[in-house]
Symmetry: C2
Subunit: 427 residues, 2 copies
Amino acid sequence: MKILIKNANLISMDSKREKIEEGIDILIEDKLIKKINTDIKENVDKVIDATGKVVMPGLINTHSHVPMSIFRETVDGYITQDWLEQKIWPMEDKLTKNDIYYASLLSFIEMIKTGTTTINDMYFMTEEIIKAAFEAGIRLQTTRTLMDLTGDGDVRIKELEELIKEYSSKDEKITFNIGIHGFYTSNDAYIPKCVELAKKYNLPIHIHFCENSKEVEDIKKGYEVQSPVELIKRYFKGMHIILAHSVKLTQEEIIELAKEDIYVSHCPVSNLKLGCGIAKITNMQENGITVSLGTDGQGSGSNLDLFETMKFTALLQKGIQENPKLLPAYEVLKMATINGAKALGLEDSIGSITEEKIADIIILNLEEVTTKPLNDTFAEIVYNIKGTNVETTIIGGDILMENRKLRKIDEKNIYEECNQVIYRIQN
Amino acid sequence: MKILIKNANLISMDSKREKIEEGIDILIEDKLIKKINTDIKENVDKVIDATGKVVMPGLINTHSHVPMSIFRETVDGYITQDWLEQKIWPMEDKLTKNDIYYASLLSFIEMIKTGTTTINDMYFMTEEIIKAAFEAGIRLQTTRTLMDLTGDGDVRIKELEELIKEYSSKDEKITFNIGIHGFYTSNDAYIPKCVELAKKYNLPIHIHFCENSKEVEDIKKGYEVQSPVELIKRYFKGMHIILAHSVKLTQEEIIELAKEDIYVSHCPVSNLKLGCGIAKITNMQENGITVSLGTDGQGSGSNLDLFETMKFTALLQKGIQENPKLLPAYEVLKMATINGAKALGLEDSIGSITEEKIADIIILNLEEVTTKPLNDTFAEIVYNIKGTNVETTIIGGDILMENRKLRKIDEKNIYEECNQVIYRIQN
């Protein structure tokens, strides 16, 4: 199938063209972006008129727990541990495969409707999440969460390996990483087994790391180390490491950490909501760590709208460091696109609108009172555009939403199914 | 005119009914809310079906500079002083009365479209702002900014008094306060004259206060005081005082300040964007200060969407104090409604949906993927609802927007006029 996007205001996020280009046509052929130029003449199956609209790469969410969509807004007024113990864990115990499937679809609808085309996930009953991803047509990097608290650590590794064997080559949209829940839910005997699996299949490590003060204390005690960074060096040396959160790192620890191949997933909304704090991301970047953006699950992150995450990211550092020159809008756009691709080891195929890359593309309608007058398009996107301004979402050359209408999923049915799930498991 | 809102999910923000009530009818007669009950039978001119929707009081923005709409997204990458000196002031010098009128209308469109029904403003050429407010139908508390930097301080006071005489009794939607720009742009001889005017007309004081570190230093030097709070006590004792920002106050200063009649307008987005910091609002509340919400001008605050301001307010305190129990959603809803009314001295007439109060009402459509499943409506409104979810806006019993269509203003014309203004003044 050939699609021609006509007359776009292109924000390619390609390092060779770091400005907005007007009047650009983009030719998509099957999965790939084949041509980017002015006035492309070509016989195509579908023309999308992007006059007056912004075309940019789909956003990349580097940390989430997609089935947690059904736990949205259950945390208000709770401290994290009480919320988990009193509300979330008892409900999670009741989740069936079917529940996971529908809850995942709810998240994938949310992604498509807010312009995210790739998501990095960590949860359980992963096969159902993969099935939902196939159904929705989204790009998913996933895992089966590895932890070793109740003696089932080895079973989890075995399950993950089976998933990797079964689904790795089935569809280029599904990739894997080795998602270790955390150091505090693993141990010195278990982590090397996880690493072995990562090396066997040449996959990245994905781990919750230094999200809050208690976790850091637990790690220090449990592993008898001065700093959690010692564990990164001890177990993951030479590997591609995706660290979720990384809120509680000192400047010295960041410098030490930056010597490894580190990709931090910054989840500012969740970090604020759970009372964790604010990660020192500009400091990380200055030391060479690649920072990308995540939402975390909706239980703590409220939603999967990365436009909102961009706004929080841009504002928090300026505010707490009392320096408005930090993180100009374009820098934050990079975090939500090409840096996300780098984090997931997918920068050769996604993260920018570049010829021969995969066509993961969104089209934004900027016609909103909050963008009038339009003085700075990059800043408007970061500060005033929301996921609801995404008009069209294309993943792998497949138009999943056009003019805000989903083309593959019956939204209402999924909402109804999810209502039934949450009603059942909380009673 | 009689309007009947049928079958609402009512969030009244009335202290006597602090929960969501389902299936509620609200009868509006001319300007007033006449009846709140289930199943009201009455012959009316207009029925609004609110089935499945949330009806709540219009939001109240307690600090803004509405003509600055045209400077939206001009600050990215600048430090505040450079932005003002190099960009804003040269443009402001070129503003005509007509420009102020159109730029104000742009802000009033934004208010109506994002559910704010009352705004407290501080700028110049105030008569044009008042005319625009009449035209738009919004509720405005305004001033002519008082300062005494270039010898025109007395002229400013005279102008403000003339406005008060001319417009105070013209329309209940227009009220005044005495807007003193700041201590650092006034002096020991000038402020008492402003206070005299406030006392003569029994009006609140509205002043920028402790927005950033430099201002605090300037105040300390300029007035030879240990703390800016001394000036509040010296000049404003016994008065109703609206303080914008108040970011740079120590805990001791807050305790001292709280002994006066203080209403802080918290503007978290602007404070972050300009690198000012984060105000200690929970500390203020614990000491009895009434905290309401403001956006500041769009030059620093990006937009006038108080739903977004609520989200930042709720999250920032949890994050920086590392305590997720702080500021539950309902507390933040109060800041955006009834506390705003208290700040402007209007709590007897607006800020809650209460019989005999003025009908400033908004209707929210919660049908968004980000509210599925709907586990906690208060939290959904604070964390997942945006100004764009406001479907209908009623001010003083007048339906200004219905199903997102403005009924009194030609939006496109105003956008075009504002485009021309910014194009002209920046060249």
